[in-house]
Amino acid sequence: MTAPTSAPQTPATADTGAYLRVNDLRVHFPTEDGVVKAVEGVSFSVERGKTLGIVGESGSGKSVTSLTIMGLHNTKRARISGEILVGGRNVVGMSEEQTRRLRGRDMSMIFQDPLSALHPYFKVGAQIAEAFQVHHPKASKAEARKRAVDMLGRVGIPQPARRADQYPHEFSGGMRQRAMIAMALVNDPDLLIADEPTTALDVTVQAQILDLLEDLQSEFNSAIIMITHDLGVVAQVADDVLVMYGGRQVEFGSVEQVMRRPQHPYTWGLLASVPSLHGDAEADLVPIKGNPPSLINLPTGCAFHPRCRYAGRNGDRSFTEVPELHQVQERGHLVACHLSEADRKKFYAEDIAPSAGVAQ
């Protein structure tokens, strides 16, 4: 792999350290109503064999981030700045042909709804074989098909040779997502982005799919980005967690740190809205009041302040100053909040911890 020429100041990531490194990523979409700032200054990295969970509501910028990494945005309509280093190569500013060669081979993606993400008119096996053949042009049709059947078997689809000749509508929801995973992994990618892979599935199937992803990760040793709004999913599979709100990252840390010692009031809100099996069955869930902000007119200061019950505890900084991401006492745990760490600890212990779901 040749070193990237466009990012001399970045430490080499080719063999050591993170496989994916995102630095100060900004994605803006100019529209007639104004500029949609879908992603504002997001930075993170993922190593091979590790899973990063990106959490946030719809419109928080998590899906836009993943599509930008894959180079799936129309570069004419999206203004993208910052750096996305995939195995040391900067994807931002790359030509369509260059990113195309990376897509599906070095990085691949699993989508939310496997029924609409698979082509209804082509056989499942053929769709997987096509993904293999496009990056292995020398492979014969028979080889590609054999590879597709192998992959279907590896993701736990019984009778893979027979199933390969069926169409997506003949598969159940869970089977379809398995086929989707088989397609994403057919070229042994180093980076796998899973965009809400279990949201469209039955709860019982969700756990199976997550288990499968974990098993496959230890087998393929790929880096995984798990995009979700479900903290239960994050708790189960992620090593690190990135919480996004209004296109910005508001909290980052290991799953242990974010789940057990969350620092941002938005993360508290997410945790409080997850039902707990151990809590009081009669207690109501606490939703985050209000709606996600408009990405065209973000609230001034901290974008979360209109929905934050602690806004204004620290002068009027919440309303005027965008909080920077800074480290808390614990190493590696970052938060973008104006509250003092002592206040945050106090509020969390008093208001949130007694009722929050996942953390217990």
Binding site: M70, E96, R101, R103, F111, L118, H119, Y121
Partner: protein
């Protein structure tokens, strides 16, 4: 698949029978007597009765209908046992009231004309329309898109008798690029057949292509926003392959339906095109027959048009099942 087709064929046959009954019923709903029309103004009742016997319209309507249907499949004999006895071999559709020419002879003369016009025009409108629409969709917002959509809007709002005459004036009278449109059977001289038909093909083809351009543009835009198109790109397929294989296949499906119905309906007659270019096709024959109350021809052409539409529908259904595997199940 076989069951699917069998079912559709049976439904089609049932529909044709129903239409034949309705058309035959209309035959009698007309207030004037065909015998009077045939016989002319100075006819006495005896002459009219004679004509009625010869036409076989003195019998009850059900008998007449059975005889008519029987005539189509095994032939029939008119006015059996009288002086006017006339054998009509299968497929017998009766005789023209005007000149006693067998209707089948009229059809075999006029149907090829209409088929020739429609076949060529359909090629023009599908080729121009679909490619224009698809390219517009892929280049949405560009100058090409705007020009193409502008042209197609102009085309969709024009009429055959206006655009056809402009083409006639420019291509035939002004520049002499083309001979005056005329019909030569393809079996006689294929080159002359094509040359004589270029003008109606262009006229009908261009005007219809406008609708297809808009339709395929809309379809393609919708398909391009589908998740599976994004999946195809995420796999690393080249854009061209994504468009031509994954997007086109899905976008073309509804176009097949409409094209089938359009072609089927056009085969029933393209009266205006035939008239302005002086072709004696099915459309012109039908309109003339209606004007002269030439009922055997009206019944035959209406039935034939229905058959064309039903067959086109059947072909569309089968094509649909070939394109979309989900249809085969239901």
């Amino acid at each position: 698949m076989v069951r699917f087709i069998t079912r559709r064929v049976l439904v089609g046959v049932a529909t044709i029978i129903a239409i034949s009954i309705i058309v035959f019923g209309l035959f009698f709903a007309v207030p004037s007597s065909p015998a009077k029309v045939m016989c002319g103004k100075n006819c006495d009742p005896a002459q009219i009765a004679a004509v009625e016997t010869r036409l076989g319209i003195r019998e009850p309507i059900t008998t007449q209908y059975t005889k008519f249907m029987k005539g189509i499949f095994v032939g029939r004999t008119y006015a059996k046992g009288t002086d006017f006895e006339q054998r009509c071999d299968a497929p017998c559709l009766g005789y023209s009231f005007r000149n006693n020419e067998p209707v089948t002879a009229i059809l075999s003369r006029t149907v090829p004309v209409t088929i020739s016009i429609v076949a060529g025009a359909a090629v023009v409108w599908l080729l121009i329309g679909i490619s224009l629409g698809m390219i517009s969709a892929l280049r949405r917002g560009t100058l090409f898109d705007k020009v193409a959509i502008g042209i197609s809007l102009t085309g969709a709002s024009m009429q055959v008798y206006f655009f056809g005459l402009i083409l006639l004036y420019v291509l035939v009278y002004l520049t002499h690029l083309l001979p005056f449109p005329s019909y030569t059977p393809i079996t006689q001289n294929p080159a002359q057949w094509a040359l004589g038909l270029v003008l109606p093909w262009l006229t009908l083809g261009f005007l219809n292509s406008a609708i297809y351009a808009r339709l395929s543009r809309a379809q393609m835009l919708e398909t391009l926003s589908e998740d599976y198109v994004r999946t195809a790109r995420a796999k690393g397929l080249p854009l061209r392959r994504v468009y031509t294989k994954h997007a086109l296949r899905a976008a073309i499906t509804p176009i097949v339906t409409i094209a089938g119905l359009d072609i089927g309906a056009s085969l029933g007659g393209t009266f205006i095109t035939e008239t302005i270019f002086g072709f004696r096709g099915l459309g012109k024959e039908t309109v003339d027959a209606v004007n002269f109350l030439n009922l055997p021809i009206v019944v035959a052409t209406v039935l034939l048009a229905a058959v064309f539409i039903i067959v086109a529908n059947l072909i569309v259904d089968v094509l649909y099942a070939v394109i979309d595997p989900r249809v085969r199940l239901s």
